[in-house]
Symmetry: C2
Amino acid sequence: MEDEVDRLVAAWRRERPDLDVEPLEVLSRVSRLARHLDRARRLAFAEHQLEPWEFDVLTALRRAGTPYQLSPGQLLTQTLVTSGTMTNRIDRLAKKGLVERLPDPSDRRGVLVRLTDVGRDRADQALAGLLEQERAILAELSRAQRAELAGLLRQLTAPFDNIPG
Amino acid sequence: MEDEVDRLVAAWRRERPDLDVEPLEVLSRVSRLARHLDRARRLAFAEHQLEPWEFDVLTALRRAGTPYQLSPGQLLTQTLVTSGTMTNRIDRLAKKGLVERLPDPSDRRGVLVRLTDVGRDRADQALAGLLEQERAILAELSRAQRAELAGLLRQLTAPFDNIPG
DNA sequence: CCCGTTTCTCTCGATGTCAAGAGACTCGAC
DNA sequence: GTCGAGTCTCTTGACATCGAGAGAAACGGG
């Protein structure tokens, strides 16, 4: 089956026959698939009244384990947004009752963000929904193919995740 | 070599041992790799004084072939942004002298956006730089592995690209 | 022809993000 | 102790995007 990247590559070969555009076969597909996934996730989360960014923050806290609390700084590094953005996000999540701000008992500059019970349940439900949807997308592939794909992708992501920042 | 997704998956298995999180092994890697690629591309384009969105628009015109012109509407569908955004983008590219607006001779409601010579050269140079960088990222894999990866990704993207919109 | 519908592009207001910096507090050297 | 550098969170202003809708022109049935 043909996809958009096949058409993209064909267009480049026509317009720039001097260039080797083979890298696009892999990396343009990665980018485009990621975009499709973003849209699909937005839909899946909407069923739980969550935005993707809310899911990101809530699950970071959820993965931390009890008592489900992290500093805003720790949340920054996990979600890769800036501090101004995180302040805004915590404000909105707190207003919705999904997290609460607590003073950090060991550092009076600091704050701890803790998941409320409601927040934990919402995160758990949204994760279950996400996994269900992702399983449907991956049904195109056999178990062996999925493992193969995961392994090849790991080879590409590992340098980014380990060497720099 | 371990990557962030391995750590992510391990955290979920600890916190939610009841869930099968195998889909994350593939799809979280796709999303994270796409994010790394975005950052890398931003850097590569900066050497040519281009933003990623500028590259998107210029190369859409470039791929169209001579005379390198498309309507704003055609650019919308290729770049997947809204019309308000495209108007803004064309304004800024025109101000930089990379594209120009022409009245559409066959439809007085319409406009044609045409790549200037400067714009075409910038697009060509930026594409060459991008491909060079992408080749470096893909050097982790053998030619056969790249072909395998492209094929598996195509199986996942094809349903999105063909069935819906 | 004429009028309603559709198809274009652009305008406008709201929103989320980033980058830079301010303010509060901690920590270590002296 | 005290001072300066470092750390942490929040504030502010700029900016790109989206979504809804306005205005202009094309299209097509009666």
